[in-house]
């Protein structure tokens, strides 16, 4: 019983009602009993005194005229009062005059009357009362009666007991009502909560039966269930998208491997004709570019999910980024025989931004336009200044977007049409990445479509840079172009011999003087004598790590001004941070993009050029 009370709201409610009922009854009963015991005493003494007075009045003549028989008759009238035990009359001089005793009671009359007043002795109440006539005392009345407050108390306790039993019955009825009105809705909520937990079914709802606070509780509970259900669904969806993404990723990464292997086989053949060899090399280049793009996307996904995507803010003519993007997607456009209509303003539109990242945004948009348009379609790209903003629009004549899709296309891993051939599909992160990058540049991106089959349009708005900043940026490309052809001394250090040698060959082919090292110590030794203009250092080298090599090179006079470039397998921001702290000027992720290498070498040439 007590367990039940402790663990159920209903039990507690009943206990509360019971406790208040019982304590209220007990307290009122105590008060009543105390009051009544007092009243009982007062009532009995008053009653007996009155009786004595009446008797005194009645027996005064008998006393006056010395009539014992009449006096005894008067006293005998007491027998109509069952509580009267005995009575006596005393004469004026104090002698016993007449007596009465209830049958069965053995009285002991005091030989002389006591002082007027009452006395309680055991269960007897006695009283002496003066008999007076014309103001003169002519005798005394003595009365003895039962005085039994305890029997009255017993009666009281019996009544209280009965009342309590009745109250408890009423309480039981009351608690029945209480249960249906208060605890039932709560129990209903608890039951639904248990069911939701055991069945994971968030569509269940508690029934609302009242409009009071408990009704509000039920409403809130249902609202929480709906919210939980929504979130659980979102988590499931996100999880599903991630699973699909992983499947896509595995597929995408595996796709280029077969053509690569085939091309490699062709190149290994002794008597391969030059045209076939060239075709194989081009194929390898395309497939490799695709793989690099995939891995880059993957790294970007990692940066987005960890919130570490960052962009540089340099003065930049938007036309350059647009041109980069067009170059990137040109092969795809040509292979699908799309017509690309480009409209750029003559004046450079200057923004503060990251050329590579903005080119990535634009190429993603162009890439999507190409992918989601039937072969032989048209793609329009326009750039213009509107107010303080640069507005870039990419429009196509493709499959378009339905309104429902418009709201989700910028979500991670969402792909509009999964039926597309996988070679075109990508990872489903392009627009997500585009949106983040544009946001990081302080701009906005929006999609628009007139519906399925009617094509779609994406619009990017970026804030234009101020005139002063724009002027400074505009000079830079010209200066760089002037010194592009300078011959540089370059050190390449990588413990992967193949990687180091092939990279060195690539650099040497561009007319630079190149030395190769395969560990950190060797790299330092060569650097001291060779005094390179640029050093590409792998980070994870044996004996001395890349970071340490960089630090020491910065300490030595001969290599203090060398442009240090870190090459790592990881492109996370804290890696960049560490490289920068060690003294590296740049940080590249393997495999390095040849265009990026060219830009770095151009920068180094400009730096080391005679003033």
């Amino acid at each position: 019983m007590f367990e039940a009370i402790r663990h159920s709201v209903r039990g507690k409610a009943i206990l509360l009602v019971l406790a208040s009922t019982v304590s209220a009854l007990a307290l009122s009963a105590l008060g009543l009993v105390l009051y009544d015991l007092r009243a009982y005493e007062r009532q009995w003494t008053t009653d007996l005194t009155t009786q004595a007075e009446i008797l005194a009045r009645a027996s005064a003549p008998a006393l006056s005229f010395d009539d014992r028989a009449t006096a005894a008759k008067d006293l005998a009238l007491l027998k109509v009062r069952p509580f009267m035990l005995a009575g006596a009359l005393y004469t004026r001089s104090g002698d016993l005059f007449a007596t009465y005793a209830k049958p069965g009671f053995e009285p002991s009359f005091p030989p002389r009357p006591g002082p007027e007043g009452y006395a309680i002795q055991g269960d007897q109440l006695s009283v002496f009362h003066r008999v007076a006539e014309e103001g003169e005392t002519i005798g005394t009345v003595y009365l003895v009666a039962y005085y039994r407050p305890w029997s009255r108390l017993l009666d009281y306790l019996t009544i209280i007991g009965l009342v309590m039993i009745a109250s408890l019955a009423v309480t039981a009825l009351f608690s029945g009502w209480l249960q249906s009105a208060i605890t039932m809705p709560i129990l209903e909520v608890a039951r639904v909560a248990r069911e939701v937990m055991s069945q994971r079914d968030y569509s269940l709802r508690a029934r609302k039966t009242t409009d009071d606070e408990i009704g509000e509780l039920v409403d809130s509970f249902n609202a929480m269930l709906a919210e939980s259900g929504r979130r659980a669904q979102e988590l499931r969806d996100a999880d599903q998208r991630k699973d699909e993404f992983l499947a896509t990723l595995a597929h995408e990464l595996r796709n280029p491997l077969a053509p690569l292997r085939n091309a490699l086989e062709i190149l290994r053949m002794k008597n391969v004709d030059p045209a076939s060899g060239e075709k194989a090399r081009q194929m390898m280049q395309r497939q490799l570019a695709q793989m690099v793009r995939l891995v880059d996307d993957l790294l970007d996904v990692s940066r987005i999910t960890t919130g570490k995507l960052a962009v540089r803010r340099e003065p930049l003519a938007l036309q350059a980024a647009v041109q980069d993007a067009i170059e990137t997607v040109r092969p795809l456009m040509e292979s699908r025989r799309h017509e690309l209509d480009v409209s750029l303003p003559a004046e450079p539109l200057m923004v503060l931004g990251d050329r590579t990242r903005l080119a990535q945004v634009f190429s993603n948009l162009l890439n999507n336009a190409a992918k989601y348009t039937e072969s032989g379609g048209r793609v329009w790209l326009s750039l213009e200044a509107q107010g303080g903003e640069a507005v870039l629009r990419v429009r196509d004549s493709g499959i378009g977007l339905d309104p429902h899709a418009l709201s989700t296309i910028f979500d991670m891993f969402v792909q509009v049409d999964r039926s597309l051939e996988r070679t075109q599909a990508g990872l489903g992160v392009g627009l997500t990445l585009a949106k983040r990058l544009v946001t990081l540049h302080g701009g906005t991106i929006a999609g628009r479509s007139d519906g399925g089959g009617l094509g779609s349009e994406f619009e990017v708005r970026l804030p234009l840079a101020t005139a002063a900043v724009a002027g400074e940026g505009a000079q830079a490309p010209e200066a760089a172009a002037a010194v592009a052809a300078r011959r540089l001394r370059i050190l390449v250090a990588d413990d992967n011999v193949d990687a180091a040698t092939s990279f060195a060959a690539l650099l040497a082919a561009r007319g630079h003087e190149v030395r190769v090292a395969h560990d950190g110590a060797q790299a330092l030794a060569i650097a001291r004598s060779f005094e390179p203009d640029v050093a590409f250092l792998d980070i994870g080298m044996p004996r001395v790590q890349g970071y340490e090599v960089a630090r020491r090179m910065r300490e030595e006079e001969a290599t203090r001004r060398t442009l240090l470039v870190a090459l790592t397998g990881w492109g996370r921001d804290d890696d960049r941070q560490r490289a920068s702290e060690a003294g590296f000027d740049r940080h590249l992720v393997k495999p390095p993009d040849p265009e990026e290498i060219d830009r770095i070498l151009e920068g180094a040439a400009a730096r080391t050029a005679p003033a």
């Binding site: 009045r57 009645a58 005064a60 003549p61 008998a62 006056s64 005229f65 010395d66 009539d67 009449t70 008067d74 006539e133 014309e134």
Partner: protein
């Protein structure tokens, strides 16, 4: 009967001695005097019985010198229903005028005529003789062996214009009801 008792008492006294006998007589007289005074307390006096509110209750005593003496001693300084009480010794020939109560003693000559005359003048009469109530007494002493008793005639009391408290009737030996009752 009282004579018998008195004789009996005298016989006893003869054995015990004369002095004792005199004291018994004196005790009876004082008892009767005390009763007379108490009777006055049980009469329901009305304003018409008195000339003024402060007028005394006058009790006349005829033919009982010893009782008159006792009564005079008893009433000294006592009031009944707010009235002082006075005792008047009268002879049988004196008029009962001005009295509220008259005690006709055993030694009164022509006791019956005295009692009737007083009754007709609105005086409450107390007698001490055989057939006292029939002779105009409202209250009459009777001897009950050792004890002194009395009888009441409501008829006689009414004739003199008086009411006697019913409380007193409870101890009366005999009550003669009113004429009409």
């Amino acid at each position: 009967m009282a004579t018998v008792r008195a004789l009996f008492a005298i016989l006893l006294l003869g054995i015990a001695g004369l002095a004792e006998g005199q004291r018994t007589e004196a005790t009876e007289a004082s008892l009767k005097a005390a009763y007379l005074f108490k009777f006055a307390g049980y009469i329901e006096w009305s304003a018409a019985d008195f000339e003024s509110p402060a007028a005394p209750i006058a009790i006349g005593v005829v033919g009982a010198e010893d009782i008159a003496a006792e009564l005079t001693r008893i009433v000294a300084g006592r009031n009944i229903a707010g009235h002082p009480v006075v005792v008047k010794r009268l002879s049988a020939d004196d008029a009962a005028r001005g009295l509220q109560m008259l005690f006709v003693g055993r030694d009164t000559p022509r006791a019956g005529a005295v009692a009737r005359a007083a009754q007709s003048q609105g005086v409450l009469v107390v007698t001490d003789m055989e057939r006292g109530l029939e002779m105009g007494g409202a209250i009459n002493f009777v001897s009950l062996g050792e004890r002194l008793g009395f009888e009441v005639s409501l008829e006689s009391a009414e004739r003199s214009g008086h009411r006697i408290s019913s409380r007193m009737l409870s101890v009366a030996r005999r009550v003669v009801p009113k004429a009409g009752a």
